[in-house]
Symmetry: C2
Subunit: 416 residues, 2 copies
């Protein structure tokens, strides 16, 4: 069963969790002085509207009409009850997922790409730069820029640029420009860190350009809260008072935050982050100030981190290969309001294929981390005879990750 | 704007156009005797329920509850108003599309794959064989078979098997088996004709197996009529009395039939088929009895045909490379109830990219034929100052066809 809602039921305000956090957020620090960052450091990179959202203490921030008109092209996204998966698991739990894969770019990323492009366009910016790993974020921003007629330049990690050409083609189909990063070291395979450095330097050097980030920052998680707000309403349509547990995969934290933050103030709802055991930021990192990139050009953020020079193995869930996590997510974990769990890659693909063979859709490798956690929780419910309501985020489809499935089915996946 | 409907609004009966056709359908003929086919020729290949539907004169046929439960995993599909495309075209026309790309396999194909697997399973068949070109149909049938726990063997045109591995991976992810066709000539690139021959021979030789076809036959078009029935209701939700013109791309005719057949009896609604000019069955073929495959093992069908030995060029819209068309569609064209138009490949991709850059989604090359026709119609409306309502079928996404977009953007597409 699926619960859809008409276009006019897209939430008209974003929910800002910051005033509701268990502990106050620690401010970002200047990379040189280690003093709290002032807006003038950010204005060469971000429009004023987004800087304002980054530090806002208001609980709700109105979504501009032009942004709503675009979100309504695919939102509200469906809430689906995974009844066939429940039956296969013989669980008394009821499993629901919120399907963000229906957006044009195939993930939750356009939820923030569209308002970011809108605010930049509104403040006269004619060009955005960004980085992308496997290409999910780069394609979402290229799509958003095409809607406002602004240029988009994407610095793509060279290894992905060479091995995964199809996200590059998506970006170009929407009119964006893609180059391999690092731009000045053509033999270097690149990393998210080098690509951030390239994109920030490009935007900093040009008057007509700003920089755009697809996760981690407060305003990005803010934009994603349409997901959880819709899910709350749809669960009630399905006859559920609330979920007992909300699960999301966590790379930088934007999809997890989008789904779970609207449930933070309801202490009866458990929150769970699922991450790869090869990049175990929340389960294996330490809470400290660290840089957002590997070169140390960005402000320092208070977060769980594996160290900004940590290079995770090349797992297929490229979107989860980040040394840190969103400060908002880290705050919740540190305060004990959110729990985290880590999984090795093969266990994740076991879950992905079980999901595909019962429900149908083929999930992104990132999303499959949330599915793994949901299945484990449902099995626990069976063992304990508990009728819990499980809600997980279906953050994206795996149609551009089929090489990973081929590797898994042929037994070529490493154990990391 | 999008119009969605709750799961319980999936139509509960298929609409059978056969009794409403302008001219009675001519019966299929036995390939040897050229006498009308009797059911005993078909029982080794198809279950009785589908043979009954193939020759039914009833106007409505109930959809079994188990099939409805599965269709409701993604149906009703959204109806979308392409307002941003209208604005780009500066047309007074209102353009709507019915989005079948949201199914697990990414196209309309599961609408018939699911009931075909269901009826075979219900009659004790444990294994289905089929052919596939680029892989759309093979992946849909593998998905449907996974739902009923029956085996699926797909004979895939060798050229596609070697050049387009990702649809093969989808089939395998759903537990299906794929082999390259022709099986006994490993150097032969294969064609839809050779693959049909392989699949029919396999099913005919095994007691536990039946054969399944994804287009052309009456029962396939019947199953697809959920598309048009839903669209009719959603257009009324959108405040439109009816469409002035309904447009679909046409390869074998199942997507076009599914959308347009429920409008056949309303003579105020114009019907339009869009096909490739390199395989111009309806616009360049002759109406005659011809075989469904290239080897001449299937019954003869009364249809427009380019000759069963016709080999179309390797255009990217693999799903439209068929020498014939569904007898129902051909009947409508012959009687003047439906019109057809043909487009060269580059014009089709011009439309696809214009659509992607205004609306967002990246369409399948097949689907882009319908978009080309819809844009041309909308431009005509602008030139003539007419406010028409255009409805077209968005039969599938192009996420497994990005190589085609790369070729187009790089200027590598031929003019055929």
């Amino acid at each position: 069963m699926r619960w859809t809602m008409p276009s006019d039921r897209v939430p008209e305000a974003w929910y800002n969790v910051v005033p509701d956090l268990p502990e106050p957020l620690q401010p970002p620090l200047h990379p040189g002085t280690r003093e709290p960052v002032t807006p003038d450091l950010l204005t060469p990179l971000f429009p004023m509207a987004l800087i304002g959202q980054e530090v806002s203490q208001e609980n709700y921030i109105d979504i501009p009409g032009e942004v709503l008109d675009i979100l309504r092209l695919w939102r509200p996204t469906p809430l689906v009850r995974a009844r066939r998966l429940e039956q296969a698991l013989q669980t008394p739990a009821r499993i629901y997922y919120k399907d963000e894969s229906v957006s044009p770019a195939g993930s939750h990323k356009p939820n923030t790409a569209v308002p970011q492009a809108f605010y930049n366009h509104a403040e006269g910016v004619r060009r955005l730069t960004t980085e992308t790993g496997a290409g999910q974020w780069g394609s979402a921003l290229a799509y958003a820029c095409s809607l406002f007629g602004i240029e988009c330049k994407v610095y793509m990690v060279r290894a992905s640029y060479l091995q995964k050409p199809y996200r590059r083609v998506m970006i170009e189909t929407w009119g964006g420009e893609v180059v391999a990063s690092p731009v000045d070291e053509p033999e270097h395979p690149g990393s998210l860190g080098t690509a951030i450095t390239d994109a920030v330097r490009d935007a900093g050097a040009r008057e007509d350009s700003h920089y755009s980030l697809g996760s981690v920052l407060n305003h990005v998680l803010l934009h994603q809260t349409v997901i959880g707000q819709e899910a709350k309403e749809q669960l009630q349509m399905a006859g559920e008072e609330r979920p007992d547990i909300v699960i999301g995969c966590c790379g930088g934290g934007s999809n997890l935050g989008g789904l779970s933050l609207p449930f933070v103030t309801d202490s009866r709802v458990e929150l769970l982050a699922a991450e790869p055991s090869s990049c175990p930021t929340l389960t294996g990192g330490k809470f400290d100030y660290d840089f957002g990139d590997s070169a140390g050009v960005t402000p320092l953020l208070a977060m769980y981190t594996l160290g900004h020079e940590f290079v995770p193995p090349a797992i297929h869930a490229g979107g989860l290969r980040y040394h840190g996590d969103a400060p908002i997510i880290c705050d919740l974990v540190k305060a004990g309001r959110m729990r985290a769990v880590a999984y090795p890659q093969t266990k994740v693909f076991d879950a992905a294929v079980q999901f595909a063979r019962t429900q149908g859709p083929i999930p992104a490798p990132e999303t499959a981390h949330a599915i793994r956690a949901a299945i484990d929780e449902a099995v626990r419910c069976r063992e304990e005879g508990r009728e819990r309501v499980i809600l997980f985020g279906y953050s994206g489809h795996g149609l551009l990750d089929l090489q990973a499935y081929d590797d898994y089915l042929a037994g070529r996946l490493g154990e990391e």
